[in-house]
């Protein structure tokens, strides 16, 4: 199925996107890209209810002979981490390339063409090449990714931001002013070293008037697969404490999941396996709060 013709207003190319969500942290390595990928995968399938042990809505629809019509949510995922693009690797689409004619074409992850990605990772000739970009070049690239990509008629555009509060962040905000920016989802790990950076990111959001959707605490405890003992490897409780202190919504915790990288390729089998984990329950709870 080809994506729908874009109804792009050239001067406001993202005007048709219904929801834009920034995934931010301030801190590196807390799982922004991982959460962004799982959020995108889950939102893409949000039209279908996944109920354990019961036939899915999709199965029921097939049984009734209805094959199209509901749940066609289109999701775009923009990898704004220009120096360390992770999204193509996570979704196992590194080998794909983004074509350029009048604009960049995003890369579709799935055959149904309901999840597409844009990343500087698609533009590399060698995956080991350093991407050495000073501020002005980052600004130019961000601007292109927001204005010169042929995104389809997206329901959601999720933007995975790099750590920090610098050129990429300023450029993204400047270029999104006129659009349907739902706000920022802030990812942290529990320890104070991480929440310290997230406080600064929240300060950035406040100064630039970005609504805060809420805080997610990732890597929140590890349950030993052998004895079920839970160890708080990266401390405990910092995300919820921060949310309460700064009066922003706390959306939930995601435990450490060593296997999470295996579930990120977007394939049905991987998603099915992931749906049976505790981590999936956590992400499901977060998605429900997001799309309420």
């Amino acid at each position: 199925m080809d994506h729908m013709e874009t109804k792009k207003n050239v001067e406001r190319p993202l005007a048709f996107v219904k929801h834009i969500i920034l995934i931010m942290s301030g801190k590196g390595g807390v799982g922004k890209s991982t959460v962004a990928v799982h959020l995108a995968l889950r939102l893409k399938n949000a039209g279908f209810k996944v109920i354990r042990g019961v036939r899915t809505v999709r199965a029921k629809i097939r049984y009734l002979g209805i094959t199209e019509g509901i749940g066609n949510i289109l999701v775009g995922l923009l990898d704004a981490d220009l120096c360390g693009p992770s999204i193509p690797t996570m979704l196992n689409i590194e080998q794909k390339k983004s074509k350029f004619s009048k604009n960049w074409e995003p890369v579709f992850v799935d055959m149904e063409q309901r999840l597409c990605v844009m990343s500087v990772g698609f533009l590399l000739t060698n995956r080991n090449d350093a991407i050495i970009l000073r501020g002005p070049k980052k600004n130019a690239t961000i601007k292109q990714f927001l204005n010169d990509v042929d995104w389809p008629d997206l329901d959601y555009l999720i933007i995975d931001m790099p750590p920090g509060t610098s050129d990429e962040h300023i450029s993204v905000i400047e270029n999104l002013r006129e659009y349907n920016l739902d706000g920022a989802l802030l990812i942290t790990t529990p320890q104070a070293v991480a929440t310290g950076d997230v406080r600064r990111e929240l300060s950035f959001c406040k100064k630039t008037v970005i609504p805060i959707i809420g805080i997610v605490e990732n890597m929140s405890g590890f349950v030993c697969p052998y004895c079920q003992e839970c160890t708080n490897i990266f401390s405990k409780g910092g995300g919820e404490f921060l949310a309460n202190q700064l009066e922003v919504p706390f959306l939930g915790r995601i435990p450490i999941c060593p296997q999470i990288s295996r579930y990120q390729d977007g394939h049905a089998e991987s998603l099915k396996l992931f749906s049976q984990t505790n981590e999936a329950d956590s992400i499901e709870a977060i998605v429900k709060k997001l799309v309420k």
Binding site: G135, Q144, Q259, S261
Partner: protein
């Protein structure tokens, strides 16, 4: 907008490059005109100023990764604490992660202020032989975002190198942010006239980290920074209850050691996960001192000993003229 399509994957060739201002990667850069006339290639006088100012510093090391959250700041802090256990050694840590300054907290110096003396900015002393400098000490509020574009960050890095009264130091450890951007280009540029021992590259075992780390190693090779070696952090977790080990960050492609071998750089060792490390970082304590017999502390000490040994060797070779940096 002007088509910069072909230029996106091509990075800045460097202001000193023959193609500066003329490469496809230069499209859209505000410095393009300056570079194309060759003016940007002229050596910045600050480079010599830094060289002179740091001439009393015996060993200078960068701690880098490319990937965020692998434990660079944690590693820098424990390296500093570890070296400083030898009370005859003077150690300082310079934190150039301007947007995310973690060093004040992990070294127990949060809330302290920098004092201005006749000989420059005084670093914050944690102990008699251990001091720290970070933008964290210059903020009005620790919760305030540092929303700076690249050139301003570069300016502060220059000031850190030129205006801080480092005094006579045995080790200056420089903690860098993730990525390969303004901070990295600036520190490389301003140190280009000085003798540096090189870079320690920190990674975690999984491929998603190694992807970024390979890029960082190639950045170092491209700009001529010696690589002291790779440290694999968060390398396995032993359950405190049943003592069985789990790989939290699975080394699907062989982990840091295999990557180091493929990239032809030394591998310095592995450090396992220990929840007490995060706790010590939050409390600003030396994990290697508080829990010296723990497997992680033993691992740290082994890695630190290897690094110190290699640096002494590099220093001796440099002193004898056998090695020079650009």
């Amino acid at each position: 907008m002007e088509n910069v399509a072909e230029s996106i994957p091509n990075a800045c060739p460097g202001t000193a490059s023959q193609t500066a201002g003329k490469a496809s990667g230069c499209e859209g850069c505000p410095n393009q005109k300056l570079c194309s006339t060759g003016k940007a290639a002229a050596v910045d006088p600050a480079v010599e100023e830094v060289r002179q100012h740091l001439s009393t510093v015996r060993h200078k090391m960068l701690v880098m990764s490319g990937k965020g959250g692998v434990g660079k700041s944690t590693f820098v802090s424990q390296l500093a604490f570890g070296i400083a256990e030898d009370r005859t050694k003077q150690v300082s840590v310079l934190d150039i992660d301007i947007c995310g300054p973690s060093i004040p907290r992990v070294m127990g110096a949060e809330g302290q202020q920098v004092h201005l003396s006749g000989s420059g900015w005084s670093p914050v002393y944690i102990d008699e032989n251990l001091s720290v400098m970070s933008v964290g000490f210059l903020l009005e509020s620790l919760d305030s975002a540092v929303i700076w574009r690249g050139p301003r960050k570069a300016g502060l890095i220059k000031d850190f190198l030129c205006k801080v009264d480092w005094n006579e130091l045995d080790y200056l450890l420089i903690d860098t942010p993730p990525g390969t951007s303004d901070e990295h280009l600036s520190i490389e540029k301003y140190l280009s006239g000085s003798t540096i021992d090189g870079a320690i590259i920190v990674t975690t075992p999984q491929e998603i980290a190694l992807v970024d780390v390979r890029k960082q190693i190639n950045f170092c090779k491209r700009v001529g920074i010696n690589i002291i070696g790779v440290v694999e952090n968060m390398s396995g977790f032993v359950c405190p209850k049943c003592t069985r080990e789990t790989q939290i960050f699975i080394p699907e492609t062989g982990g840091g050691e295999k990557m180091a071998e493929e990239m032809a750089v030394p591998f310095l060792g592995r450090i396992p996960l220990d929840p007490r490390i995060a706790q010590c970082c939050d409390d600003g304590q030396s994990f290697v001192s508080e829990f010296p017999d723990s497997p992680a502390a033993v691992a740290y000490k082994n890695v630190i000993a290897t690094i110190v040994s290699r640096c002494e060797k590099v220093h001796q070779e440099a002193a004898s003229g056998a090695m020079e940096t650009d």
